[in-house]
């Protein structure tokens, strides 16, 4: 489905490589967490998949197509196979929930009839069928992110890319988002999610790809955020602190501590809640 072959990428204004000889494969229907300290190249990885950037060297195949040799007029059609979700939602503030989701289909020329049915389906999946006529600023952050997911999924993409989709959300809300992503993943949609959210990675136990300074440092099935297997919640938290601390900048440590503080109290209930809920998702 997706194959990176010795992909390197550096930005003009930056001497260090954002990605360094990265090789990996992701098969259809996988759920992959992309972790690593700030600046390790997670967003760059996603941008390369979106063909917003091209690699300096190496090749990327998606669904049998090689991205750097793809003509630029083909890129829009290629992108119709992808869905994207970001930390900052990127909704259009003057359009309603329904219009935001419909917009994604309108601009690729789908008929009104198709748009109507697909939009309401997609809003049902994210549980916002009853808020279709609200404006984004009348919604909570979690709801806005669900609209963004509905928009990303409305055209039934093969791959869903998510760049820190829970970065702005509290743990309980994040959990709701993960439930929806999990549900989408079960429709054979490949999901690649860059995240710093220790709790979520450790709960979901999906494939974890860890980057550091642009290089692959770990690729683990049913992985966790940190390097080691934690047994208790306490150990998970310690692991989380260590993992976060891989980013050596002070800023990152502070961020990590904050995140930890946020996660520490409710994490038990989240895990409990999550395990309970996972079964009745479909």
């Amino acid at each position: 489905m997706i194959k990176f072959d010795k992909v390197s990428k550096s930005y003009k204004t930056n001497r260090n490589k954002a990605l360094n000889e990265l090789s990996l494969e992701i098969t259809k229907g996988e759920f992959v967490f992309l972790v690593g300290p700030s600046g390790s190249g997670k967003t760059t990885f996603l941008k390369l998949l979106l063909r917003e950037e091209k690699p300096d060297s190496g090749r990327i195949w998606v669904g049998g197509k090689e991205l750097s040799s793809m003509g630029s007029f083909k890129v829009p059609y290629y992108r119709r196979n992808l869905g994207c979700v970001f930390q900052d939602f990127r909704l259009l503030p003057n359009k309603t929930v329904h219009q935001n989701v419909a917009f994604a289909l309108e601009v690729i020329g789908r008929s009104k009839h198709v748009i109507e049915s697909k939009v309401s389906q997609s809003l049902e999946i994210v549980g916002l069928g009853n808020k279709a006529n609200r404006l984004p600023n009348e919604l909570s952050g979690g709801e806005q992110q669900r609209v963004a997911i509905a928009r990303a999924f409305v055209n039934r993409p093969l791959i869903l890319l998510a760049d820190e989709p829970t970065g702005n959300l509290d743990p309980a809300t994040s959990q709701g988002i993960m439930r929806i992503l999990d549900k989408i993943n079960r429709t054979e949609t490949t999901i690649i999610m860059a995240t710093h959210d220790v709790g979520i990675v450790n709960m979901m136990r999906r494939r974890v790809i860890q980057l550091d300074k642009g290089s692959l440092v770990r690729d683990q099935q049913r992985g966790i955020y940190g390097m080691e297997e934690p047994d208790t919640i306490e150990e998970r938290l310690t692991g989380a602190v260590r993992a976060i601390s891989v980013g050596t900048s002070e800023n990152e440590l502070i961020k990590g501590r904050k995140r930890l503080r946020r996660n520490s109290t409710p994490i038990k209930s989240i895990i409990a809640g999550f395990d309970e809920d996972t079964d009745d998702l479909d």
Partner: protein, 302 residues
């Protein structure tokens, strides 16, 4: 497809409305620049018409001295008959030309009373074989004994052409500057439009809208600004034409010569004004298209 066309048009007008101040500035400069172009074309066409009109069957008039001797008159007459430059001549003797004078200046008896039959110059009115030879005839005959002066309308035309060509040059120069200004303003308007819709554009790119789908509303916006300006400019040019027409008519009424005024030919016909209007409208669309295309290329590429 029709769905996306109506959508593109709707987007375009919403944009125009949002960007009203910039759009207005752009449209106004288009109006000014294209009106200048139109006026220059109008004058140019007028002069061209006048030249054609007056060089048709154009004649020269040789005015003899009032006291020219018979032999001097006969000499000139013979020369004119033999000259290959001249097709035919008509001689007005003292009483003929005095009658003509009386007729032309019937409302100005003072002028008439200054002459008697004997002091009125006699005139050879000649038709040229080739209208372009007027200057040659002038050079040949104006210094002949007994000849007072040689008059041909070509002189007036030449002076007129010179003046109007300078005028045209100035107008076209100013028009060119204004066209550049309109290009820049349309470019700026479209840049603002792109900026104010950057969120939509980002989403469109993300979900795979084609480049043309994203570009067309902006390009349409620029072209519509150019077109609105051009339509108003052509209306102004039509108005200018009829104002010129009326002015000329009035001066002719006031005029005393009794001959068709040289001016009357300088007004372009309404048919020509329509062609100029079409030229302006096409140029408006082109200016709008270029201005917005450059903006779209600079600020909208993937």
């Amino acid at each position: 497809m029709s769905f996306s066309i109506s959508r593109a048009l709707r987007d375009t007008f919403i944009n125009l409305w949002r960007n009203f101040q910039y759009a207005l500035a752009a449209i106004l400069t288009v109006i000014v620049s294209l009106s200048l172009v139109g006026a220059a074309l109008l004058v140019k066409q007028g002069v061209a018409n006048a030249t054609v009109e007056w060089s048709h069957g154009v004649g020269v008039s040789l005015w003899m001295n009032a006291n020219a001797s018979n032999s001097e008159v006969n000499g000139v007459s013979t020369q004119l008959k033999e000259s290959s430059l001249i097709q035919s001549c008509n001689y007005l003797n003292h009483s003929d030309s005095y009658n003509l004078l009386k007729r032309l200046y019937s409302n100005q008896p003072v002028v008439v009373s200054a002459f008697t039959v004997q002091t009125t110059p006699t005139i050879f009115n000649c038709v040229l074989s080739n209208p372009n030879d007027a200057v040659q005839v002038y050079n040949q005959y104006s210094h002949q004994p007994g000849v007072y002066t040689v008059v041909y309308p070509g002189q007036e035309i030449k002076t007129m052409e010179k003046i109007t060509s300078i005028l045209q040059l100035i107008m076209l120069g100013m028009a060119l500057l204004m066209v550049v200004a309109s290009l820049v303003l349309i470019f700026v308007t479209i840049r603002m439009a792109i900026f104010s819709r950057r969120r939509e554009v980002a989403v469109m790119k993300l979900v795979g809208a084609t480049n043309w789908f994203i570009r067309i509303p902006f390009m349409l916006e620029g072209m519509i600004e150019g077109l609105i300006g051009a339509v108003i400019a052509s209306l102004l040019v039509f108005a200018l034409r009829s104002v010129m027409g009326n002015l000329v008519k009035n001066t002719e009424k006031l005029g005393t010569s009794g001959q068709p005024s040289l001016l009357s030919a300088t007004v372009a016909t309404s048919h020509e004004a329509i062609i100029i209007g079409v030229i302006l409208i096409v140029s408006g669309a082109i200016v709008g298209g270029i201005g917005s295309f450059v903006a779209v290329r600079r600020f909208l590429d993937v």
